[in-house]
Amino acid sequence: MTRRMKWIQLGVLAALIVLLPLLFPSGYYYRVGALIFVNALSVVGLVILIGYAGQISLGHAGFAGIGAYACALAPEHLGLHPGLAVLLGAGISGVMALLIGRPILRLKGYYLAVATLGFGILVSMVLTNERALTGGPDGMVVADPGLRDLLRDLGLRLSGGELWYGVSGLVLLVGAWIALNLLDSPTGRAMRALHGSEVAAATVGIDVAAQKLRAFVISAVYASVAGSLLALQNQYVTPDVAGFLHSVEMVTMAVLGGVGSVLGATLGAAILTLLPQVLTVFAEYEQLVLGAVMIGVMIFLPQGLLPSIARRLRGTSE
């Protein structure tokens, strides 16, 4: 991908984030938009892990849970500002990924999937059972970071929905920018090389284990920040954020949109976040539609929605 392509992708994303609110008929759409951006952020992290480095993870909600609970716990117990708690959560997630990544990433295929799944379930179990600390399955309140009041003092009056739409959109842009930069960096090339063939990558001098670990840690930090943003805008967290279903949802979004493409990941997140909102009338059939969409995409667009459509439009085959 050329440099130009990178800026085009970022430009499209930025334009969408800025222009879409012009079409919003009510404040509720800001909430949905913010949710899409938060989901897209964690999915962009998975693009780096799954799309670039070719490793699977079914436990990333665990990192989202760490990020979310960092925002809930750190202000209460350490007196930390919620904004700093986001960084603390990201730090803990990164270190955690580093520690467990080394043994786990030696595994391949199903074994790697099961090991990461185990990690995710462990985090969710701790959050559910350490009632004294986390409030158990009922969850706990997250302190307001005071961002709205700060902006109001600066003369900018925003509703909660508008504020978090802006913040999540901005963080997503930064996340996408980093991911796109990474793609053509030496690190990104090394990751993609080991995706193609680990043996070939090793013979040209790539430290396979280190690159896998790097991708795992980066994606864990993405998931953690996304979890933090979710907790801050919901002002409430429950262990569901770290649940197995959330992990699966993330991977599904990545696969649906196109696992190697940052814009595709955003599209996948947008579709799967919007679907339950559009299908409220058919709530019982939501899973059915979702399954049908996934099967259709897997059969007809195996690269994911966006890359497959882009290729068809260009009329080329790689």
């Binding site: 008929p25 009510s26 404040g27 509720y28 759409y29 909430r31 949905v32 949710l35 559910t128 059972n129 009632r131 158990g136 399955p137 009922d138 969850g139 309140v141 909660g160 929905g161 979710l230 919901n234 002002q235 409430y236 429950t238 569901d240 954020v241 339950p276 909102q277 409220t280 709530a283 019982e284």
Partner: protein, 381 residues
């Protein structure tokens, strides 16, 4: 001068009629967990709300205005519940919200309702929902703490003072376990053994054996809902316990007796609402009319028996209908004020009297101590 005043008054009256006509419907919002892990709560709740709104509209609505219901299924996911709450307030522009089948979803809806100033009646149990009192938040179910107090009072009446507890680690069980431990001391109950089990566990024999081997235990209490308490009940029977077993209001439904088996469940006591013993209520019981009307209507509409949880939703709708009728307005703030002055409204769960300090409005008398006899419910007191 006089004619001008008359004209002004007439104009005002005309305006009032106009604005009245502009909002010829009362927009009611609901977000319950009709599917997902909390479906056993949300399903009867959703059905009850839909049924009641239909009934009210068929009989001419409130103050001549029909109710327009918007009901969402949050699947028990707090994140979705918050999105739907935002949607109800911002997009559907409802004047009141019912919902939050679980404590997690309630807490997510609650902050939206508080921020936007929309009255919200929760259907979840935790005491933290109404303590501290929040301006726009009310709830219909008893708190876990009240269930503990009712059970301990019944124990004390039988000279039981030392008990063993076995609790589920799900939201309901864990919350009630904590509340029971808090109030036990004040009621002279000593908890000698405190065991837990996971919501998916298939056998609680080891924990129960430990309780049985604890010296001096006079009764067993099992806070929890779902299949766990049924397994505990069966295990208790298998182990041949000779001390009484108390369950919580979380299993107050016929499905529990079916799951545990009538033989194992014989003699189990639990606090429940009048709804469970609708057939046994005396005709002069204050709740007789409400309870029999509701259970009959639900059976006719859906062909199945309702549950305590459906009753919570019934009372929430009844409270809002009552408040809107008294307020004579569909302004959220007027409805809130009217809700807070609700007095002596008889529901299926109990009789509600709200005040500025009490947004639950029930007392212990709303609970009835029930015992399972011959595969059915009977009232102890």
């Amino acid at each position: 001068m006089r004619s001008r005043t008359t004209t002004a008054l007439a104009t005002l009256a005309a305006l009032a009629t106009l604005t009245g006509a502009a909002q010829a419907e009362i927009r009611l919002g609901a977000s319950v967990s009709a599917t997902g892990p909390a479906a056993f709560l949300g399903d009867p709740e959703a059905k009850t709300i839909e049924m009641m709104v239909e009934q009210i509209n068929a009989s001419g609505g409130i103050n001549g205005e029909e109710i327009a219901l918007t009901l969402y299924d949050d699947g028990g996911d707090p994140n979705k519940a918050r999105t739907f709450a935002t949607r109800l307030v911002e997009d559907d522009e409802v004047v009141a919200i019912i919902g939050g089948s679980t404590t997690g979803t309630t807490m997510s809806i609650l902050s939206v309702a508080e921020a936007e100033g929309i009255p919200f009646i929760s259907l979840a149990g935790a005491i933290s929902i109404i303590d501290p009192v929040r301006e726009y938040v009310f709830k219909t179910p008893h708190t876990d703490r009240m269930a503990c107090e009712k059970i301990f009072a019944d124990m004390a009446a039988q000279d039981i003072t030392r008990i063993g507890m076995i609790s589920g680690t799900d939201g309901f069980g864990a919350s009630m376990q904590a509340q029971c431990k808090e109030v036990a001391g004040a009621q002279g109950i000593e908890i000698l053994a405190d065991e837990t089990y996971g919501p998916q566990d298939a056998d609680m024999t080891p924990q129960l054996t430990r309780i049985r081997n604890t010296e001096g235990v006079q009764a067993v209490l099992n806070p929890g809902f779902g299949q766990g308490p049924a397994i505990v009940t069966r295990n208790v029977a298998q182990l041949g316990f000779e001390i009484p077993l108390y369950q919580s209001h979380g299993v107050a439904s016929d499905a529990f007796i079916e799951l545990a088996g009538a033989e194992a469940a014989e003699g189990v006591r639990l606090p429940g609402t009048a709804l469970l013993i609708a057939d046994l209520l005396a005709e002069d019981d204050p709740q007789y009319q409400v309870v029999t009307d509701y259970t009959a209507a639900y059976r006719e509409a859906y062909g199945t028996a309702t549950s305590t949880f459906g009753g919570y939703a019934h009372d929430a709708v009844a409270l809002i209908v009552d408040a809107v009728t008294r307020a004579g307005s569909t302004d959220p703030d007027d409805i809130r004020d009217a809700l807070e002055t609700t007095e002596g409204l008889v529901g299926t769960t109990g009789t509600y009297t709200f005040s500025a300090e009490d947004h639950l409005g029930l007392d212990l008398s709303a609970f009835r101590m029930l015992e399972i006899r011959d595969g059915g419910w009977s009232a102890v007191d």
